[in-house]
Amino acid sequence: MRRRGDAFVAQDGWRAFHVPMLIRLLRGNLVQYGSSWCTFNSMTTGKASKKTVRRSVSLRPDIDSKVQVLARRERRSANQVIEDLIEAGLETKEAEKHRFFELANRLTVSTDKAEQHRIKEELARMTFGA
């Protein structure tokens, strides 16, 4: 990508946006077209990016220091690290829920006593912990 004035032109011929304009576009609510550097005939009026919510969360000191260590190691902000960890946690929860219902369904259709026993053991671990 090389710079031309305020716009960027990608090497494959696609013309990119003026950077501050791009930022505003990504934040949504921008309607402008026809600029010399803009090859799009129309732009979206919808939200082009995910809106963020500011939220105050208290962390235990030991969790907080682990987050700080991760952030330093990965050269990212603590906010980004926390967001990724929450996302990963939510995905894990969802996968665990899926597994739980899959096991429950398998238990109801299984005719093999040994398999039933195995499934019950796993469900018990999931339901009541180790």
């Binding site: 739980f100 429950a104 109801t108 299984s110 499934i119 999931m126 339901t127 009541f128």
Partner: protein, 82 residues
Amino acid sequence: MPKIQWPDLPPALRDHLFERLRERKISAEDLYQLKLWRETEPEAPDGLWYKDFGSFKSAGKEDTRRHFSSAANRQRASSSNM
């Protein structure tokens, strides 16, 4: 206040619960709600307590839980009392 103790649940009681699940007498959704509730590490009130999960109830005394009662069981019990 003491927390409800889950790991020392008698195996026979556990088996009974999952057998009811296999027989579809209790629903997987309700059992999943029990799991979510257990993860909150609930505190045990003084004396007898119970919690309704829809297709079954979990009941116990103080920090131990001794009984799961499905809706079918409750119906049977109430008709035998009549």
